[in-house]
Amino acid sequence: MGTFTLTASPRGRRLAGPMFLLAAALLIALFVASTFGTTAVSWREAFAGNVTARTVMFDLRLPRVLLAALVGAALAAAGVTFQTLLRNPLADPFILGVSGGAACGAALCTALGLARVPGLVSIVAFVGACTATAGVFLLARRREYTDPTRLLLSGLVLNALFSAIILIAFALSKASDLTAALRWMMGTLFGATWSDVVLLLAFVVVALVALVTISGDLRMLAFGEDDAKSRGVDVERVKLIGFAAASIVTGAAVAVSGIVGFVGLLVPHLVRLVWRRDFRILLPLSALGGAILLVLADLASRVALPTSELPVGAFTAILGVPFFLSLLRRSR
């Protein structure tokens, strides 16, 4: 990595330093993001008992910034898992049809005029995401073996099919319903509630625990399936747990926030540019990095224009790409 490295230990296996650094950065990001917004209120006012300030802080901003952090962590953790399992640097959390399935469910809700039923879009989107991923797996699995290339191709083809269904669903929808549907498809954290936060937190915790348990095996899988098998790794089991955890947590994130692009693809690469390419390190640091990026992107999307919100997915790219490119230039 040439001269540029933040690795604390010369042997680079310590995780505590980088984790502390990113956790501190996340806390700062959460504080900053909850301080700024279109309404000028401060934490001091909220704690002093100002009712408006309390409402804005505790009912609107806090759930929103926490949800942003969770969605970012979920997508980045899923991204690094997919990149490792599929051995493909271009893999992102939506690659196995999760986004297509979720969007398809949401679009059908919209076409049927049901988009305004509270929570229904989220539930249908989650079911769509899980169904799509299961479908991709059934298509790709042959004789108890899941081939990464077949998985990628099946995901690609199903996503194309879903796009077609979405277009038809939109053509049949009422114009007034379309704005909300489009906003959802571009990804938004608008209207985040505490129940969203609690629900996604549960999914993120379960997925991360599952992924941490197999992270030593996933690290070996980076050398190829045959190599990993010869080292005593139960490759099919690891693939099953890894794909299931990453897909389900992606589905849950999509259900509460729509399709937020780029975090899952970009953040693992950012982490790889700075720290060691070892899944045991990449997973926790990617989750923290994804949380930071999405909290900041959401803040930018809220405050960029005084009158309206811009799509958060655009800001993940606008903030992430320059940072990524500068790291890419400074590393080897």
Partner: protein
């Protein structure tokens, strides 16, 4: 240490290995040769537990390979696939230390002792100076040495290498062959490696296994293989033998 009895394997009905019976003792350098598609790689994968035989039995140190606990087996048997390539380039020392993985518990990280073991393996492969270099900055030969070090880092008693000499220049072929010979002599390890280079294998190996259409066609010392009529029959190669080396008759 290794016994194969009537071992067979097929990929979707296509027979890759048929009825192989052989025995390999400790501290031997064994060359596995044969034309393309003769089943060399598949046989190595069966021995490395990457694949399970469809029929027959493989025993390692008196116990069926199936009955070994996966990590226990991985500590004793090291396998190097044909083209190991991590998706993202890594530092050599990190690659080599990952060879210690079979010794680690689920949530355990490598200790300093594991890194020392990895550094030792790198020096043994004459690659100590590569420790902090990244794989994508290395030549093919350097990368081969790093991956051999990764196998050695676990100090296995049986080493299986799939075409370790392929794509090496001639001085590295010699260096690598010397290294394998040296490992066998010094550590009592058994090395079984697949190769297409009969001359080099015959010069260094104690024994040659010749595969043909999935079957074991010959199991003999190199001198028995390096005969014009044997080479013509097994490889379809017309050659004279000069000082133990196969030389093609060329007319200019």
């Amino acid at each position: 240490m290794l016994q194969l009895r009537d071992v067979s394997f097929n990929y979707d009905g296509v027979i890759a290995v048929r009825g192989v019976t052989a025995e390999v003792a400790r501290a031997q350098l064994v060359g596995l040769v044969g034309p393309n598609g003769s089943g060399k790689s598949t046989l190595l994968k069966l021995l490395a537990r990457v694949l399970a035989p469809a029929a027959g039995a493989i025993e390692f140190e008196g116990r069926s390979v199936r009955d070994w606990q996966a990590k226990e087996y991985a500590r004793r048997v090291g396998y190097l696939p044909q083209d190991p390539d991590p998706t993202f380039p890594m530092r050599a020392i990190d690659v080599v230390v990952s060879g210690r993985a079979p010794f680690l518990g689920r949530f355990q990280w490598e200790s300093d002792a594991d890194y020392d073991e990895a550094a030792k393996a790198l020096s043994l492969c004459d690659a100590a100076d590569l420790a902090d270099r990244y794989l994508d900055e290395m030549s093919g030969g350097e990368r081969k040495r790093v991956f051999l070090a990764r196998v050695l880092a676990a100090r296995p008693t049986l080493i299986l290498l799939d075409e370790p000499l392929a794509s090496l220049d001639i001085s590295h072929v010699q260096q690598f062959s010397n290294l394998l010979r040296d490992i066998v002599n010094r550590t009592q390890t058994t090395v079984l490696y697949a190769t297409h280079d009969l001359n080099w294998a015959a010069a260094y190996c104690d024994r040659m296994l010749v595969m043909q259409k999935g079957a074991l066609a010959l199991d003999a010392p190199p001198s028995a293989l390096m005969q014009p009529d044997v080479v013509r029959r097994l490889f379809g190669f017309d050659a004279r033998v000069v000082d133990g080396w196969l030389v093609p008759p060329v007319q200019r």
